[in-house]
Symmetry: C2
Subunit: 286 residues, 2 copies
């Protein structure tokens, strides 16, 4: 059976619709894109978003699927203290996708590009049994923030409330917040909450070979403790050096959660002066 569009339609659509950018020297339609990188150190990232695994087609509008697929990658750039610059989209296209769907996909990516200041440099497409996106890109950071650099005594913060967003909504990757933090404070480590607050916090601790003490009463939740284990919040967990002087300013703008401890201390949560172990579960894509 012939499909309603082919690879060439996609490339032609990209060629006609993608805004020209000064730093994309050659792009769509050639074997590779040629871009001008503003700095020597580059961030690289890809992220899969697959129907039936990461989302259900019937739950989401196509523009929301695209927005989330792209925003997940932007959130990763934010988590490293960086910004996106060039984004490519590899699209697995099931038979039901029609040219109007392609236009809808592209419109959303171009909208996001304007909003978050990146250039779409193209990407591959091919038929696939289920709709999927592999969004990949290149970005830059004045200062790279790793998840593995938390230090004992660091203050632990969160950029926003857990569980505040619905699963079927677009979300705003915390690029602005990340830039503000990195430019103004001594940020030692950072991670985004993609698979659940507890799980992603523990990833940061594990990579940093540290423990933590979290005060349950100050963790901002919407529905309760279940928000600790829910994925796709896309807020940032970050740790601030204990010698940071503007800690009160940070406390006025973000949520203070607790303190980085030694590895031996473990992952502890304090509730009404009682300590218990932080339960580590979250969402995995298998």
């Amino acid at each position: 059976m012939k499909h309603k569009f082919n690879e060439l339609d996609w490339i032609n659509l990209l060629k006609n619709k993608v805004p020209k950018s000064r730093d994309v020297l050659a792009g769509i339609g050639d074997d590779c894109a040629l871009v001008e990188a503003p700095r020597k150190n580059a961030l690289l990232k890809s992220d899969l978003f697959i129907e039936g695994v990461h989302f259900k087609r019937k739950d989401l509008k196509l523009s929301t699927i695209v927005s989330r697929a792209v925003s997940r990658v932007l959130s990763d750039f934010a988590a490293c203290g960086g910004s996106p610059k060039f984004i490519g989209i590899s699209l697995g296209a099931p038979g039901y996708l029609k040219p109007k769907h392609l236009r809808e996909i592209l419109k959303e990516v171009i909208f996001l590009g304007r909003k978050y200041n990146f250039s779409l440099i193209g990407g591959d497409t091919a038929r696939a049994p289920k709709l999927f996106f592999d969004v990949w890109g290149m970005g830059f950071a004045d200062k790279f923030i790793s998840r593995s650099n938390a230090r004992e005594g660091d203050f632990i913060f969160l950029t926003g409330k857990l569980g505040a967003r619905k699963f079927d909504e677009k979300f705003t990757p915390r690029l602005k917040e990340s830039q503000y933090l990195v430019s103004n404070f001594k940020i030692n480590s950072m991670i985004d909450v993609s698979d659940g607050f507890a799980l992603d916090l523990c990833r940061l601790l594990k990579e940093s070979r540290k423990g933590a003490l979290i005060h349950k009463a100050v963790v901002p939740v919407t529905r309760g403790e279940s928000d600790f284990y829910r994925g796709e919040d896309y807020e940032l967990i970050f740790t601030v050096d204990k010698n940071e002087r503007k800690i009160d300013l940070l406390k006025s703008k973000f949520y203070f959660l607790g303190t980085i401890k030694s590895r031996k201390f473990g992952y502890k949560i304090e509730d009404k002066n009682k300590l218990s172990n932080l339960n580590i579960t979250g969402y995995t894509h298998f």
Copy 2:
């Protein structure tokens, strides 16, 4: 049903097995990879390789599937006169993939990295109904060669014989040939034969807004004219400026096919002094 491996297994495997590289400053396990780019201008590329679309699982060994998925992207870097530097792999993993399959996949990519001098910087994985790879990467070119810059009077060449390779084999992307050509000759345009000689030649001509005269007798085929329309040769078609002095050297090393003509001339093939139109068909992934 629980699968036999999860995302963390993959990341841990990558962490343990991927050779350290001086220009990968932070990488596997963090939200983004941080790399040191040797030059200001970068090449970016992604390419999908999907079970049931680009390959059948039963026809190919897993290591061959991986090799081809990666080599297709390397071939695109070659087609631009460039070299790969950092490669990421997004892996769609069906239920039958076991840890030993992951190790096999990784072993092949690391082997290719050593052979073609790129660093594996990670990549995402998630469950998928069919096996697929989205291979993406960043590379560099001293001089970027576009498919859209063929000029009237250019000599048209091919790096190797069409139809010489079997579909179920690994292939060698023409990176060495590309570097030799770009460093030593006035190459105006280049493209790799991924979807068939006739189709890819016509893409180059169309993008360059030119026509061509091809001499059928000198096109190197294995089985006959059917090789014109067969995909996945991964030889390079390139055009050389008419003022290039070392044209005889090129003719001794590569296959001379004909000449770039005006757009008005069209796409013509000469056979025993008779001209006919070049039949444009090839393989498309829809």
